[in-house]
C-alpha cells in the first residue's frame, strides 16, 4: 500500500476507535444509572400533555400573583445589587490585573488568580458554602451571586482594558501623566461602554442564577417556586416559571436597547 493510502487508513482506524470508545462509555454509564434513551423519548408525548394540563396557572395561582411579583422584584434587585457591588470590586482587581495598568507583576498575578478561583467555582457551590456558614437567608444568596460575578467580571474587565486602552495608556505615560490620571482619563473613557455591556450581561445571567440560588438558600423567587413545588401546587409553580421567563425576556430587551445607546 502506498504511503498516502496507509496514512488515510490509519486516520480512519483512529476515528473508528474513538467512536467505539464513546459508544462503550455511553453503554456503561446507562447501565449504571439504569437510564434508557428509548424509554425517555417514548415518554415525551406524555410529558407534553402533562405540561399543558398541569402547568396552566388556574385562578388560585393568579390570586397568588401579587406575592409572586413581590418575590420576583426582590430577586431582580438582589441580582442588580450583587452585580453592581461586584463590578466595583472587579474594576479595582481588573486594573491591578491588567497587563496595561498593573502596578507590578506580583500584584497582577495575585489578582488574576483570586479572580480565576472565584470564577471557576460554580455559583451553586458558592451557595452551598455560604449556606453552611450563614444559614438560609437573602444575604447568603447575595454572597453567592457576588463572588461568582466578581470572578467573571474581573476576567472580562481585564480583557476590556487590555484591548481598549493599551495604546492610549502609552500615550498618556509619554505625556507625563500620573497613574491616577491614566486610569481616569484613558482607561475609564475607553473601556467603560464595554464594561457596562458586561455588567448588563451579568445582571441578566444573575436573575436566572438567583432563581437557582434561591432554591438552595431559601430566598427570593426560587424559594417561592420550591414551596409551591413541594406542596404539589404545580399550577402556582408554573405561574412562577412563566413570570420568570417574562422577566428574563424583558430584561434582555431592555439591556439590548441600553447597549445600543452606549456602544
Amino acid at each position: 500500500m502506498p504511503a498516502v493510502g496507509r496514512y488515510f487508513c490509519r486516520q480512519k482506524l483512529k476515528f473508528t476507535l474513538i467512536f467505539l470508545g464513546l459508544v462503550l462509555i455511553y453503554w456503561t454509564a446507562s447501565r449504571i444509572t439504569e437510564f434508557n434513551l428509548i424509554d425517555g423519548f417514548r415518554a415525551a408525548p406524555r410529558v407534553i400533555t402533562w405540561f399543558f394540563t398541569n402547568l396552566i396557572p388556574d385562578t388560585k395561582a393568579w390570586e397568588r400573583f401579587p406575592r409572586i411579583l413581590d418575590k420576583l422584584i426582590e430577586t431582580i434587585f438582589m441580582s442588580v445589587m450583587a452585580t453592581v457591588t461586584a463590578a466595583v470590586v472587579s474594576f479595582v482587581f481588573a486594573v491591578m490585573g491588567s497587563r496595561t495598568t498593573r502596578i507590578n507583576t506580583a500584584i497582577g498575578g495575585i489578582s488574576r488568580v483570586v479572580a480565576s478561583i472565584n470564577r471557576n467555582i460554580p455559583i451553586a457551590v458558592w451557595a452551598m458554602v455560604f449556606l453552611l456558614a450563614f444559614g438560609q437567608s437573602g444575604f447568603t444568596g447575595f454572597l453567592a451571586l457576588f463572588f461568582y460575578t466578581f470572578g467573571f467580571l474581573t476576567r472580562a474587565f481585564i480583557e476590556t482594558i487590555d484591548e481598549a486602552s493599551s495604546s492610549s495608556v502609552e500615550a498618556l505615560r509619554a505625556v507625563g501623566a500620573s497613574y491616577p490620571h491614566i486610569i481616569t482619563q484613558a482607561v475609564v473613557p475607553s473601556s467603560l461602554p464595554q464594561m457596562i455591556s458586561w455588567i448588563l450581561y451579568m445582571i441578566e445571567t444573575n436573575i436566572r442564577s438567583a432563581t437557582l440560588v434561591g432554591l438552595l438558600t431559601g430566598s427570593g423567587i426560587g424559594f417561592m417556586f420550591s414551596i409551591y413545588y413541594k406542596s404539589l401546587q404545580y399550577k402556582s409553580a408554573a405561574l412562577v416559571i412563566l413570570s420568570l421567563v417574562a422577566v428574563v425576556l424583558t430584561i434582555e430587551l431592555i439591556s439590548n436597547v441600553l447597549r445600543r445607546l452606549i456602544l
Binding site: A171, A174, V175, G176, P180, H181, A186
Partner: protein
C-alpha cells in the same frame, strides 16, 4: 558635527575665548545619548549608541525593521528602560529619573505614534488637553480641570494643524490623517522642546503622509522645536531631514546629512538586496 556649525557662525574675536566655545558646545547638545545599550531579556536591541542632537534640528532615523529605531525613541522618554548608558536631555540624565521628576521631564518631550494612540471615544479637544496632564496635580488631572489659558492654547494648536472645525468631534469619526494631526496637537500643547515621532506616517496614505511631514517641518521652522522622527521611507527622510541616523542590528552605522546618503551607505544600512529595492 560641532566643527562645521561653529565655522558657519561669524564669531566676534573678543568672544572667541575657550569659555565661549565651551558654552556654545553645551547649548548645542540638547540631547546627548551615550553608550546606550538595550537588551530585551537576551535579545540585543541597541548596542553602544552614541550621538547628540542640537536644539531645533530635524533628525530622521532610518533602518530596517528590528534595527532598534523604535527602541531608541522609546528609551528617550523612558517608555522603554535602557539596560545601560545615559541620555542627557537639557543637562539632566533621563535614565536616572523616577516619580515626579520623570513626569516633569516627560511633560517637556512630545511624542507622536504610528497608531496615533488617542482615546478615540473622547472628543478632539479632550485628547489635546491630555497633553497638559504632565503639568497637573493628581486631583486636577483626575477631575479633568484645565485652566482657561490651557483651553485657549489647545484651540490655538488645533488651528495650527488645521483642525479648528473639528474641536468637538469625537476622534473615532476622524480619518487617519486627521487623527495624527490631533496627535501632533496633543504633543504641541505640552509646550515641548523636542518631539519624538515613532513612524508617524506608516499608517497613512501618501497625501496624508505629506501633510503630516509638512506640519512637522513647520513646527521645527516656526517654533524651533527639535524633531526626531523614525521613518521607513528613505526618500521621505532625505526630503525632510537635515540629518539622518542609520541603524542596523542595534548599531548606529550612519550619522550625516541627507546629501551624504549614497547608494553605498543605503546598502550598508539596509543590507545589499533590500538596499537595491529602496534605491530603484
Amino acid at each position: 558635527m560641532i566643527v562645521p556649525i561653529l565655522t558657519n557662525i561669524s564669531v566676534p574675536k573678543a568672544w572667541a575665548s575657550a569659555d565661549y566655545f565651551n558654552q556654545e558646545v553645551i547649548e548645542m547638545a540638547q540631547l546627548e545619548v551615550k553608550n546606550l545599550t538595550k537588551y530585551y531579556k537576551d535579545v540585543l536591541a541597541l548596542t553602544e549608541v552614541n550621538f547628540t542632537v542640537g536644539k531645533g534640528e530635524f533628525v530622521s532615523i532610518i533602518g530596517p525593521s528590528g534595527s532598534g529605531k523604535t527602541t531608541l525613541i522609546r528609551c528617550i522618554n523612558r517608555l522603554v528602560d535602557a539596560t545601560d548608558g545615559s541620555i542627557h536631555y537639557e543637562g539632566t540624565d533621563l535614565l536616572t529619573l523616577k516619580g515626579s521628576p520623570l513626569r516633569h521631564a516627560r511633560a517637556k518631550i512630545g511624542m507622536i505614534f504610528q497608531h496615533y494612540n488617542l482615546v478615540t471615544r473622547l472628543t478632539v479637544i479632550e485628547n489635546v488637553l491630555h497633553g497638559r496632564l504632565g503639568y497637573k496635580s493628581n486631583i486636577a488631572g483626575v477631575l479633568g480641570i484645565y485652566s482657561e489659558h490651557e483651553k485657549e492654547k489647545a484651540i490655538e494648536v488645533l488651528s495650527l494643524v488645521g483642525l479648528e472645525k473639528y474641536v468637538y468631534r469625537r476622534c473615532d469619526q476622524l480619518s487617519g490623517g486627521q487623527m495624527q494631526r490631533v496627535g501632533i496637537a496633543r504633543a504641541l500643547v505640552q509646550d515641548p522642546a523636542i518631539i519624538l515621532c515613532d513612524e508617524p506616517i506608516s499608517s497613512l496614505d501618501p497625501s496624508s503622509a505629506k501633510i503630516i511631514m509638512d506640519y512637522l517641518r513647520k513646527i521645527q521652522n516656526e517654533l524651533g522645536i527639535t524633531i526626531i522622527v523614525n521613518l521607513h521611507q528613505v526618500d521621505v527622510a532625505k526630503k525632510y531631514a537635515e540629518r539622518i541616523l542609520g541603524f542596523n542590528s542595534g548599531r548606529l552605522v550612519f550619522d550625516a546629512s541627507p546629501s551624504d546618503l549614497t547608494t553605498d551607505t543605503i546598502h550598508h544600512i539596509y543590507g545589499a538586496e533590500a538596499g537595491e529595492l529602496i534605491i530603484n
